[in-house]
Subunit: 603 residues, 2 copies
């Protein structure tokens, strides 16, 4: 065994030869970013070996491709490619930019520490050799005055030998004793079921610590990339197959998390799952017929607590599955989890929460009142419907700066020749074109300025050349077309319309809003300055913006660890007034007004 | 189809050609005795055809053997042998002696009619074509303000088509909606799990009517005839096999009851099972280790409500199993059910309940206080340990009268040459010997009186000849030995000791007791006059004795049909103080005093 220390925390963890530093770090609860999941594509899991570099495998060609020469010179490595090869002490520095947790953890910190009261509890008791009366009465009188359920009685009757003193661990869930163990460290599993990605957290319910973070692609992707095509499938073929896919994914994640931490699946007593309403219905095998048609009625919005095994989740036989409440057909429990993770409900002043995606959910809060809406912002921000748009994988330009002279500087994932642009890069670019005057307020490219990069395409529409084919990996120019700009404008207008209508509902002026919480992956990578410039975010002071990353996952963990926060979530969900944007009379007017670039923008 | 009317109730029921009158009667809820279950052995299921005898199959040779010539001359038939052969109206008279229900029904009558409030309820609702908000909220607002469980939500999501008005039946269990059906008649199944026999009742939970009574031998008999040998098996091999046996028996009974009444197993939403503590533990797969050793600690005494499928019962997937509370290791929920069936808890005056068996349970009640005990009366009353004792099957003498001249007159089951005597016949005989002076107070046969029937056996002990070998079916004399009398004395002394100690605990004098409830099969067939004469029952006025038959089954049905009575049962069970006879200082003295015949006995 080797001891690996992670800096600057100084966290020490045991590791074995052959393990990668990424695996070890995750086991230690160090939340290293790794969108590519150890495939050396994204270059995000950088670390620096401080002590014991000769105990780590040599620099790989992968790393040379993905890391910039500057980072390589500074001694950075990809933790997914650093295997332990020798049994010597190792010390590793994890920079802030490699941590997904940087933002999230600070949010969690506030919330968790004071409110750690998990529903699952463990109570130790010594059963004396001789007892009178019924066994369960004796045990309750020595420990907690709670009732045993049948499973716990069966275990008690097996474990409690006649005439022998016995140490028992009682596992309780709310007012019930659900299991009797000879020893046990009760665990919980929080899972954020995204349409694309499923992220799970294995949590020690006694310490509150996250033991392991695991993720996988949502295998329902076999039935369609987006929610709409999966709904189509479910309507035709029934929801069962979709349920089986997500359940098997969750089971795999639980197994992986337990395996990597040396935990026993038997010790997992509760699973908390959040997701959008469609994911929620699929997971519970609720036919989503009505979710496909206006007014998008869910079967239920109530929080549900069921036996985990009743939906096929394999954990302890008595494990429960808690599904936090939903808000509407297009606002799911992931948004409730976002709210809990940000602690938004306790903000004294007005606050706004936005989770940008193909559907963007928005919540506005003031004086204890909540309004929420969902808006079909479309997939432009994920790179779709943009001529050279792509997902954030190797070869994607993920950041662009437009110079005053009309030239550009950009960064590519993997530090290779570019293949396209991520949605956040496109937002950077549109913002840059506007601030440099290459694009006017209405979004039209200015063909009269002196830059070679603005040109007319063969159908006589203007376009902006980001990179010429000599320098791209695709043998053609990477450009931003006038149509692409229009797509971005429509997407941001949809979001701003939602925000504006909600703010008007609660009479919140942007100057009153003390916080803009930006949840979700896209928002995490999006430059908030660019977002403000194009008017995707309102004109709010940068210091008031909190980028909270995967707040849904953090909120799910919070609800797993805290009965209080679970109750808070249920109360907040009941309070939230859902606004159906399409039914709002001023929708059309607001939308048209939100298309141009904003007049003023204080950076 | 034929219409069969049963008299004197005048109950009319449809029947098919080929059905036996016993089957038809049971379907009609006419509770005809049939210990042999349609095998034409017991001769108990007698009926008289009033109208339409030519529509019934001819007299069989079975009937000629089993029925007395007197009954045959009066036109009695065995209902199990009367098949419907022609489609004509039929009218059948069911005499009181053919009805197990005679006693039980009168008890049930009082209890059920005013307190019929089953836990399972059905609520009809019409879901409009178009709904806003969540489906479950809409349905609740139109019907009952109860929460849907996951299964009900899944059903609701499947049944409720978009844009179509729909009639739904909601099935509720306590505060929860557990199922959604398009139409359904919710049923329940009450079962009395005896060590030897399992009796089940299929009940319509909307009307409260018993649709079918079914019974079978407890298949655990493969692991031992009595509780002690089955406990032995469970201690060595584990309780699982014993659980599986009883569950498969219950499943078979549910199927049979549903098949014979054209009901659907899917419609069974609750099962209530009563039994002694060992049967209770076996059914729930609770290891009975401690039940085998003093102080006979059960794992629990609490009432339990679990998913029926969690123990393997096959009914509706959401069906519940309710297990009423226990009182002690040797006093089970069958005794609680006895109390509920007799309504003893509401008697204004003192009352006694006794359920005679290998273990006899006794409950004494006064001023709202209850005491109970169990006493090992042994199997003498079931015919075991008696030289010519036997169970109540064909060839058993079941009633004996001793004449003043020392001669005897007796009745044999099946009206054949006798093979032995039932326990109740032995009690008759001992009582007769005492009242005619052939036996003295101490139980000694009087060899000085002038009857040929008292003689010395080859080991020079006196014995009484009941029948000489010329008239028996076994080629030898049927006798009652001095040792047999002693067995009966020990058995009845055990019971009386229990009663006396309990009565002293509550300071109940026998003159105060307003009721003696006699529950169970043995007590049903026992002549209460004989029982009083030998001192098995205390010296209580005959009019105060209530022979309640299978009160445990009736009590189980009562708890199935009434939430109120279920609550009453739980409260009563908590109130009952268990008395461990062996730990009572006066036990030995009381026991010795109870062995002789009583001084006085007012008949």
């Amino acid at each position: 065994m080797v001891i690996v220390s992670f800096m600057p925390e100084g966290k020490r963890v045991e590791a074995k030869i052959g393990e990668s530093l990424l695996e070890v770090a995750r086991r230690a609860g160090i939340d290293i970013i790794g969108p590519c999941n150890g495939k050396a594509l994204c270059g995000k899991c950088m670390v620096k070996i401080i002590v014991g570099s000769d105990s780590i495998s040599d620099l790989t060609s992968d790393e040379k491709i993905v890391l910039s020469s500057k980072k390589l010179n500074e001694g950075y490595r990809l933790s997914c490619r650093c295997k332990i090869v020798r049994e010597n002490a190792i010390s590793v520095f994890v920079p802030g930019e490699s941590r997904l947790g940087e933002y999230v953890v600070s949010v969690e910190g506030e919330v968790f520490e004071e409110r750690f009261d998990s529903v699952v509890q463990k109570v130790n008791v010594t059963l004396p050799a001789k007892v009178w009366g019924a066994l369960d009465e004796v045990v309750s009188s020595l420990s907690v005055p709670k009732r045993f359920n049948l499973h716990a009685l069966q275990k008690l009757s097996r474990i409690a030998d006649v005439g022998i003193e016995k140490k028992l661990s009682l596992i309780t869930y709310n007012d019930e004793i659900i299991d009797v163990r000879e020893n046990c460290r009760p665990l919980g599993f929080a899972v954020d079921v995204g349409t694309t990605k499923v992220v799970g957290y294995l949590v020690d319910l006694m310490s509150g610590k996250t033991l392991s973070t695991v993720s996988d692609i949502n295998p329902q992707i076999a039935y369609g990339e987006d929610v709409v095509s999966r709904l189509d499938y479910a309507l035709k073929e029934g929801v069962k197959a979709l349920q089986e896919k997500i359940i098997s994914c969750i089971n795999k994640l639980i197994n992986t998390a337990c395996d990597t931490t040396g935990s026993d699946v038997e010790d997992v007593y509760e699973v908390v799952a959040v997701g959008n309403t469609v994911m929620h219905h699929f997971l519970l095998c609720l036919e989503p017929k009505r979710l496909a048609y206006f007014p998008y009625t869910p079967t239920t919005r109530e929080p549900l607590c069921v036996m985990a095994k009743s939906v096929g989740i394999r954990a302890n036989a008595e494990a429960r599955l808690f599904m936090p409440p939903l808000i509407a057909g297009y606002i799911g429990s992931d948004v409730v989890a976002d709210i809990i993770a940000t602690n938004m409900q306790e903000d004294a002043d007005a606050a706004i929460l936005v989770d940008v995606g193909t559907n963007t959910e928005i919540v506005v809060k003031k004086d204890g009142k909540f309004v929420a809406c969902s808006t079909a912002s479309g997939p432009a921000f994920e790179g779709a419907h943009i001529t050279y748009g792509m997902r954030a994988t190797i070869g994607a330009i993920y950041r662009i700066e437009v110079m005053a002279n009309g030239e550009v500087s950009y960064s590519v994932i993997g530090n290779v020749k570019p293949r396209g642009m991520t949605g956040s890069a496109v937002v950077d670019l549109v913002a840059g074109l506007f601030t440099t005057g290459l694009m006017d307020k209405s979004g039209r490219l200015n063909t009269n300025v002196g830059t070679r990069r603005i040109r007319m395409n063969d159908r006589n529409y203007p376009e902006f050349v980001v990179e010429y084919k000599e320098n791209t990996a695709i043998g053609e120019d990477i450009v931003l077309t006038q149509k692409d700009i229009r797509e971005i404008q429509l997407a941001k207008a949809a979001i701003r319309t939602g925000m504006n209508i909600l703010m008007k509902k609660l009479q919140v002026d942007v100057s009153e809003a003390e916080r803009l919480y930006v949840a979700g992956t896209f928002g995490f990578f999006l430059n908030p300055i660019s977002a403000k410039i194009i008017g995707l975010y309102p004109n709010i002071d940068l210091s008031k913006i909190r980028i909270v990353g995967n707040a849904a996952g953090a909120g799910a963990r919070a609800m797993l660890l805290s009965k209080t926060l679970r109750d808070v979530a249920c109360n907040v969900a009941k309070k939230i007034e859902y606004v159906e944007l399409a039914a709002e009379p001023e929708f059309q007017k607001e939308f048209l007004e939100a298309i141009p670039m904003p007049e003023t923008c204080a950076i």
